[in-house]
Subunit: 422 residues, 2 copies
Amino acid sequence: MATIAQSVADVCRAAKRASRELARLDTGTRDAALNAIADAIDARAAEILDANARDMEAASADLSPAFRDKMRLDAARVTAMAEGVRAIVALRDPVGEVIEGFRLPNGLDVRKVRVPLGVVAVVYEARPNVTIDCTALALKSGNAIVLRGSSQVANSNAVLAAIATEAATAAGVPEGAVGLVAGGGREELAELATQEGLVDLIVPRGGEGLKAALKDVATVPVIYAASGNCHVYVDAGADLDTAEAIVLNAKTQRPGVCNAAETLLVHRDAAAEFLPRALRALREAGVELRADARARAAAGDLADSLLDATDDDWDTEFLALVLAVGVVDSVEEAVEHVNRHGSGHSEAIVTPSAESARVFRDGVDAACVYVNASTRFTDGFEFGMGAEIGNSTQKLHARGPIGMRELCTYKYVVEGSGQVRP
Amino acid sequence: MATIAQSVADVCRAAKRASRELARLDTGTRDAALNAIADAIDARAAEILDANARDMEAASADLSPAFRDKMRLDAARVTAMAEGVRAIVALRDPVGEVIEGFRLPNGLDVRKVRVPLGVVAVVYEARPNVTIDCTALALKSGNAIVLRGSSQVANSNAVLAAIATEAATAAGVPEGAVGLVAGGGREELAELATQEGLVDLIVPRGGEGLKAALKDVATVPVIYAASGNCHVYVDAGADLDTAEAIVLNAKTQRPGVCNAAETLLVHRDAAAEFLPRALRALREAGVELRADARARAAAGDLADSLLDATDDDWDTEFLALVLAVGVVDSVEEAVEHVNRHGSGHSEAIVTPSAESARVFRDGVDAACVYVNASTRFTDGFEFGMGAEIGNSTQKLHARGPIGMRELCTYKYVVEGSGQVRP
């Protein structure tokens, strides 16, 4: 646990030094380190739970039950952390993957090869399992990692980082490869975000407040794991059972996450038949509904129980059991609405029409576009990436889930037999 | 030429509007627009040369011959511009390329599809052909472009942008897709670099001054087409003819560009035989040589004609016929020197040893690593990308040549049959 007492700059310097060695470490050694971490988590579960119990005891009574649940670890969650690490071991090493390769007319062989970024910093809130998920993704992809968790789970994170560090180091990973920044304040955040030349990428996982705090100060490259204002659009002729199941899933299966739906749009030709049954089902699931005039008109005997959608509602990520509901004249109008109000995260159309699917798929400007499926699948684990650092709604470098490959850059390796440029 | 009189924000707004339509335009229409631009350049060559003549007349007498040469157009260069556009037409459309695709266990089909970024801004100096190269790359990749050239060739750039705009619009490209920012001042640069939500990427091509000017103000994503402090390392046992040819080519074939070599490193076992002949050849080519003590000791009767290399020389991109020369004990020491002093652009080793090649290739942290070839090949055209916006030494998004693909992002398209998350 030597890293805990270091300054932010010290942690980053040690990580940079370690990263040069890590990049050259073979896959077997890195996988062995991950297995050692998984085993250590299992073996030291009591210690982890004890630290977490101290965090829970110290937690302010003001915290919501949902937040306390995010903080809490139990035996099953500890086991799941270890299993998550083993799942990442099972994936192919992204380092050294040849992204493409070709021979130039002069005989030069060019390969575009995936290599680690170097040092990745992650800023995150609550969930202690992120400490282990991110460490595993970073080490598997040959990167050093600097972790900055939230103060509410400082004891849990410190024990988890120490376990990971000790296990990894014993397995041959260089010292400093896993660094934990102590102190959850804005000063540490600003210091971390300005370690130019030491930190190659910083990924903040959190709300708009964290994003704003970083945007003002960051001089190292940032990918924001940002918020999601996601839509489900039900097209004319959609199968109503399918549409209802998708809307319910996208809104209610886990309303507090970024890939949950916040707005339902319905084609005018489907509204009169679909809205009464869908809104009833949503209401029975506890969803507060905020409708525009046309949705209200199509809602039948539910009309009086609907709230009026305000202009702001279309732009709001509720992260709760609240849904804005509107009626549109066409798939083109749905695309326009999504592009104007969405955050470029995950957008779904339910339609039997190949042409509507094409218009929506090509027209919507978002990281993930779903045809006849729930928005809830935007997730590194669901996409087969083992886990994720977060979800990017940016367009540069990484869009959508940030997994191991997204923690890599590439280099061109060019091999010749004495070629010079004429 | 309506764009010329607009404000920076107006140009960017028009480009954003156009970009949404451009992204949906089929390949045939975009290719037809590029062919129309190429034909218009040929047909209006006299007009282009006339505008350029006015720039040359107005040019300050203080400008160096090399800079004046960069500004100048002649009939052959105008023809080459048109041919360059046609070469880009011949390449496959990057938009819609499936980068990867897979089926999830639940039956969802996931495709990672290349899509345009939206609006790309390029800030560049002198060479008027950049106006056309960048426009062609942007349109081919479905992007709108905002050009900000230098005031010295304002007449040339204005005519070229007008020709491109008129030809492209007549061929079906939306108005505003090609925008030219008038005025070469720092104010316009700052305005361009802060068009958040309108400009998706800004690429500055230029020296460290431009980079510093942008770093302070930019709020839109930037990829710096940065400087190159490139090395050639001659390993023990290297074929001396090959090594000499590569060093001469890397240093002298075009010394003013970013992929030219600035430092020669020689293994101590090769120094006594290689340095006398290589340094003689370099001197005969007009190269000023700045050597460390060990290189001087190995230089034979040339020793007295060498300058002493200062600490600064190892970190300097001379962009001229000047070369720093040093002797190292091993390939590992060469890698260490390159990583400490290089700018991560292009690095070459000349060696007969597979093991030395591996150590150098894996150990050097740079966009392009060459084994037995000149550094001068780092170039979008040479790599078969048609042309390039510039060369990135960053690690995020694009590293090395920035071509059409690097002007794109991707989206995940997920197609299902009603899947919801359990």
